[in-house]
């Protein structure tokens, strides 16, 4: 293992301050490359005529993966105390519920 990389198996709640060990620069760069590739794929399928039938579900899938990668690795929710994740998921669940209620109420679907 490179010096800059750290173990990912650290128990999130076992360290002072609720910090797990954060990844190192090499891990961050790997994640950034994956994010760039997914973004390129998103833009590519937008222009592929044969993919139009699956465009919306594919875009949502790609968006979900990118969102999760940033939150888990760059924002360290994968490594930090789970209470932070609970706080964030609470807000996220509220936002998704609001989105669904508004769109169902106005019959957008």
């Amino acid at each position: 293992m490179a010096d800059t990389d750290v173990a990912h198996g650290a128990a999130p709640e076992s360290t002072p301050g609720g910090h797990g060990r954060h990844p190192g620069p090499k891990e961050y760069i790997r994640i950034a490359i994956i994010l760039a590739v997914i973004t390129a794929a998103e833009v590519a399928i937008y222009y592929i005529e044969g993919a139009q039938e699956f465009l919306v579900p594919l875009l949502f899938l790609f968006s979900f993966i990118k969102f999760t990668l940033v939150v888990m690795w760059f924002m360290h929710l994968k490594f930090d105390n789970r209470l932070y994740a609970r706080f964030f998921l609470m807000g996220l669940a509220g936002a998704i519920t609001l989105f669904l209620i508004v769109l169902l109420l106005f019959q957008v679907f």
């Binding site: 910090h19 875009l59 968006s63 807000g91 509220g94 508004v102 769109l103």
Partner: protein, 212 residues
């Protein structure tokens, strides 16, 4: 290797005792981000509701330039990378690299904002203003709020940079960099959603104008 391990763990410092055992500042930023989720949830819902409801154009397909916005997306993603590299640097005690990465993040943020200003200017020249139609209103309010968040983030980054020159950002006090980083990454994940929902997901055919 042992010293490297200690350096990597240097951010695992104690903080004033709290009832949760966690730093209140970090809990507070996560609570703030959770509340900001609701704000952007409301704005994105409003946009999705109204984007295809305009009677008169310009419509989304008339003005959006996907290749241009894609470059902006790459710029913001790159700024998230430089932000975590800044955090990794200060957690190793490397203040020099912290400054380089903070400055790079701020410059990438400014590039994104510059791109947004250019995009808005182009749209206005093409006839889409805040008052033109409900698509324009919901689009400018959503992306404008996001741009404002980016602007606030840039101010935070430049403040951190200034503090680092005053010797107030150290390895032991790296949490301030982490808190600003959390805010910056949040701005990035909001853009991930906006880029998909606003720009890439196609709107249905525009409604036929009365008598048209």
């Amino acid at each position: 290797m042992a010293s490297v391990g200690r350096a990597a763990d240097a951010h695992l410092v104690d903080h004033p005792a709290t009832s949760t055992g966690l730093p209140n500042t970090k809990l507070a930023i996560w609570l703030f981000l959770a509340s900001d989720c609701l704000l952007f949830g409301a704005l994105i819902s409003t946009y999705v509701l109204y984007r295809g409801a305009s009677i008169e154009g310009p419509f989304p397909a008339d003005v959006f330039d996907i290749p241009y916005t894609s470059v902006s997306s790459f710029v913001l993603l790159a700024s998230s990378l430089t932000m975590v590299l800044a955090l990794a640097a200060i957690q190793r005690g490397d203040v020099g690299r912290l400054r380089v990465w903070l400055l790079a993040t701020a410059l990438l943020g400014l590039t994104f904002i510059g791109g947004q200003v250019y995009e808005f200017t182009t749209f206005v020249e093409e006839g889409l203003t805040l008052r033109t139609n409900v698509f324009g209103t919901s689009f400018y309010v959503l992306t404008g709020f996001h741009g404002t968040h980016v602007g606030v983030g840039i101010l935070m980054l430049l403040t951190l940079l200034g503090l680092s020159f005053g010797g107030r950002i150290t390895q032991e006090r790296s949490e301030s960099v982490e808190l600003v980083g959390l805010y910056w990454h949040f701005v990035d994940i909001v853009w991930i959603v906006i880029f998909t929902v606003v720009y890439l997901i196609p709107t249905g055919n525009p409604p036929v104008a009365p008598g048209g």
